[in-house]
Point group: C2
Chain length 352, copies 2
């Protein structure tokens, strides 16, 4: 029932060494195995991944797990402050942390474009490995597909994370309460403007760097010092602070009053936004969290955030109100008020 | 610190109704929310997904979980016997099942190309929902990104699955033992040739349909009737039967003797392979499993597989041997022997 092996090989990609991704790297054959062995395993090696099984098997204790998935299509792949690999790991760990979970396991699914320089892939995988290791997370399963030149844009990367819940600490997007204090952990709009600058080749006075960072240490400090007084958290990524607050307002059925003067935008970032006509409230962040905290715990929560390098500029930026449920209202520095709506569509495509 | 909201809106995608994916659908703003609300939730709705949290939180019992990730880039998106949605769900559930896990949870990460017809997306999501529901699996988290026209090929889809292990049943790719009987659950090469036919617009006498199917029911029957006598399983997808057997031979350090006459290739599939010069042993399957079973349990395992519609043509197709560890040797119908190696690169790109 088989034709000769030679006929099967006749249309196969030749096994030549090059410095670029070839379609054969996605074949499931020897080139796929070599890519895994030579490019991924040296950086990501761990006992579970080494089994090369169809699925990774890991122990869990009884309780609850949190699962989050995110696909990254950021352009360019490398930017000041990170690359798609570190961004993906941070982004997925942050999503788990926002629910109060402690991230434990991570999977990676690559779509590689034929022709991608393998040294770019190496840097992306290295950044993933570093980010995972730094946060005590094991990358335990992966998958690589290759598409023809012109059918992707270098590479796309899905990361899916699994974390373990801790019974007592359960922030939820629908749990914001009237009177809760809104704390923002740091300056906003850096990631989006770093990507825009890199993409458009814009030169500003100071380099704008992405704030891409793992928020787990900040969340751990909140957990330790104020615990269940943290009612809700979110990391304001795609769509920025405005979208994250709108989502929490809608899900919890409360209003949010946001004090413009308390929202920190670094001057170079503000200047870049001004020049490009972009509103920093809608620009993506990748290393900032917003938390709604019970009023009596707010000072301690603020102190907890400020005790970590990522949170030194944490500030109270508003509170939850019973007026205007589902809406975010900005009190501007001159005292006027306006509704901060969600944008209909894109301000900045492919930011993460 | 904010410019006026109007300036932020000025470059946003207008909120118009069209029948195609637009960049704004990936914005994290109103269009993203509408896509989720109108296209995904009606088909996929469940209590966990409805929370719209950063991560899905689900209960687990103490023990072990299995995690598998897979990205699908199949071209075309729809083909006889399925589409990328059903293929992704089946593929991920099958990977979990091959490790003996019972699939429970699934995540989906979409990369959509601007311009994709929304009715194609609807059919893909509907197929995912049907496949998940039919197998008792909940899709609990998802993510959607949109890239510009010409930066993808319709859509790419990552599915990551989580399953629960059952202590007693633990097939592993490194556990094949000398003397184990190799059972193949059904005819091979159907998926790959269905894709090739659809992609190239080839007409054969009979339509070739993908065998895409969830193998969980077959695995359940093996679990119930022969349990731990199943030493290793694999679904021979990308790279086909030859690659899967080579991987098991290498990982377990045994040789595999494969009987050509016992490998079933449906006549239209064999004819298509012959015409295209492809070796069916290397053509992808998406609804077939191979199992290495202890010799005394092999008849019962075969009967268990044959008792399910997916396994009516299950057959003993060889066994594990101590000769030639790491190699797969084919005994042809005329009695000659040849090594069935892994292919270097691609026979058929973008088959899954």
């Amino acid at each position: 029932m088989t034709t000769s092996l030679a006929s099967g090989v006749s249309c196969a990609t030749p096994l030549v060494e090059t410095d670029r991704v070839q379609l054969g790297h996605g074949s499931g054959g020897k080139m796929s195995a070599a890519l895994l062995r030579d490019r991924f395993m040296p950086l990501l090696d761990n006992p579970v991944l080494r089994q090369c099984a169809d699925a990774a098997v890991v122990p869990v204790e009884a309780g609850e797990i949190a699962i989050s998935t995110d696909t990254f299509v950021v352009s360019p792949l490398e930017f000041p402050g990170g690359n798609i690999g570190s961004l993906a790991v941070h982004g997925t760990l942050n999503d788990l942390a926002m629910m109060g979970a402690r991230p434990k396991f991570l999977t990676a699914g690559f779509v590689l474009e034929e022709g991608l320089h393998l040294d770019v892939l190496d840097r992306v995988v290295a950044a993933m490995a570093t980010a995972a290791l730094a946060n005590g997370v094991a990358l335990i399963a992966g998958d690589t597909k290759v598409v023809e030149r012109g059918r992707a844009d270098g590479l796309y990367l899905n990361t899916t994370g699994v974390g373990l819940m801790d019974g007592a600490f359960r922030p939820r997007p629908d749990a914001v309460q009237n009177g809760d204090v809104l704390i923002i952990s740091g300056p906003v709009a850096c990631h989006g403007m770093a990507i825009m600058s890199a993409r458009e080749g814009l030169e500003f006075e100071a380099e704008i760097r992405s704030d891409s960072a793992c928020l787990v240490p900040l969340v751990e400090r909140l957990r330790e010092r104020v615990g269940s007084a943290v009612h809700a958290m979110r990391d304001p990524t795609r769509g920025g602070l405005a979208s994250a607050l709108n989502e929490l307002a809608a899900t919890s059925g409360i209003g949010v009053l946001l004090h413009e003067g308390a929202v920190v935008v670094p001057p170079p970032v503000a200047a870049a936004c001004e020049m490009l006509g972009l509103d920093p409230l809608y620009v993506a962040n990748e290393g900032v969290l917003v938390a709604f905290v019970a009023p009596d715990a707010a000072p301690e929560a603020l102190a907890a955030l400020r005790s970590h390098p990522l949170g030194t500029r944490a500030a109270v930026a508003g509170h939850a109100v019973s007026d205007n449920p589902g809406l975010v209202v900005l009190r501007t520095t001159i005292g006027s008020r306006r509704v901060v709506d969600m944008l209909p569509g894109d301000q900045l495509p492919r930011i993460c």
